[in-house]
């Protein structure tokens, strides 16, 4: 009943919300490709990357991801998938594969 009224009044668009799919992409990343965190990234510039990632995770501050992208590039990251993930606009939620990999929370698909 609510759904029908919502559709009629235009409060709900008829197409389904694509958010679940975006969340899944953000949380699980590419299932078929393991994320390789470079051994020197975390210690680069007195642990800048680690602090940034922790801040983003704890404060849910996903608008800082482009800064993290710049830092990663400075630390010698050349992985386009990681850099694009930081820089391209997209939906980011807690559990994001890149932040989890950097913080060593877990591998995305183990």
């Amino acid at each position: 009943m609510y759904a029908i009224q919502g559709h009629r009044s235009g409060a709900i668009p008829l197409v389904a919300f694509p958010f679940r799919q975006r969340f899944l992409r953000d949380i699980f990343g590419n299932l078929f490709r393991a994320v390789v965190v470079g051994p020197t990234w975390l210690s680069w510039n007195a642990g800048t990357i680690r602090h940034l990632a922790e801040g983003i995770y704890d404060e849910r501050a996903f608008d800082r991801l482009p800064i993290l992208g710049n830092a990663l590039e400075g630390a010698g990251c050349t992985d386009t998938e990681i850099l694009n993930h930081c820089r391209l606009p997209g939906v980011h939620v807690r559990g994001c594969w890149l932040i989890d990999a950097l913080l060593g929370k877990e591998r995305p698909h183990e």
Partner: protein
């Protein structure tokens, strides 16, 4: 499923099926939390929000099992009593299911997606004796279904809260003839059914403005006025709002 199919896949349910073997519990829980956070503004009870926050701490080991169970029970009261109504029209049906499965029903919707008895996401089925609650679920495609929920945990506080909520939803003493009187009385304006109107009505209802307006229009029904003004849990789907908007 191979890499190209995964990258091109646009259907979240297919994606979840592909994840069945690979996803960790932590990631799945965070996914459910993200889905609920998306409809955060529609959660009317602090219990629902607390459950998500506790879950997010729990996955990182910052909350204990007891805290998780308490939060799940608190949120479960709402889900049991008004199920689809607390999480109303916004989002897809799957999102609502995710939300309710995160908060209460771990083994139904989410594991149906994942195809098998996975671990519970936030709640676990309560143990102990208690009478069975029957919950009405509305699913747009299939009409109304009546689904039996798990027995209540036997926790007194939870039961009291559930009773209070049920009273708000269905108006325990609202007899049929009072409903009709309300319906035909002269102060009642013709029902406006649009969702934005309902949202406005909802806010005024909660803040007590509605009671003043009704009184001004000539309403003298003590039950109606005290319901608007009195303390207590108000949820979307409340009997008075449903009457006024001609829903039930």
């Amino acid at each position: 499923m191979n890499e190209a199919e995964w990258l091109a896949c646009g259907n979240p349910e297919t994606m979840l099926k592909a994840l069945r073997e690979r996803a960790s519990v932590r990631k799945l829980r965070l996914f459910a939390c993200a889905c609920v956070r998306r409809i955060w503004h529609l959660l009317v009870s602090p219990n629902s929000r607390r459950a998500v926050e506790v879950m997010e701490r729990f996955v990182d080991g910052q909350a204990t099992e007891e805290q998780r169970i308490v939060a799940a029970n608190g949120a479960g009261v709402l889900v049991r009593n008004c199920n689809a109504r607390v999480l109303p029209t916004c989002g897809s049906r799957g999102q609502r299911f995710t939300a309710s499965s995160l908060l209460w029903e771990p083994s139904s919707a989410t594991t149906r997606w994942l195809g098998g008895g996975g671990p519970p996401l936030l709640g676990s089925w309560p143990t102990g004796s208690g009478r069975r609650h029957r919950t009405r679920t509305q699913s747009p495609g299939k009409g109304r279904q009546v689904r039996a929920c798990a027995p209540s945990s036997g926790n007194c506080a939870v039961r009291l809260a559930a009773g209070r909520l049920r009273q708000t939803l269905f108006g325990r003493r609202l007899s049929k003839d009072r409903g009709e009187r309300l319906w035909s009385s002269r102060w009642h304006k013709p029902p406006t059914k649009s969702v934005p109107f309902l949202m406005v009505l909802w806010r005024t209802h909660v803040s007590g403005v509605l009671a003043d307006a009704l009184e001004e229009a000539g309403c003298t029904d003590a039950d109606v006025l005290s319901h608007c003004r009195g303390p207590g849990a108000h949820v979307r789907g409340c009997w008075l709002l449903d009457r006024l908007t001609g829903r039930e």
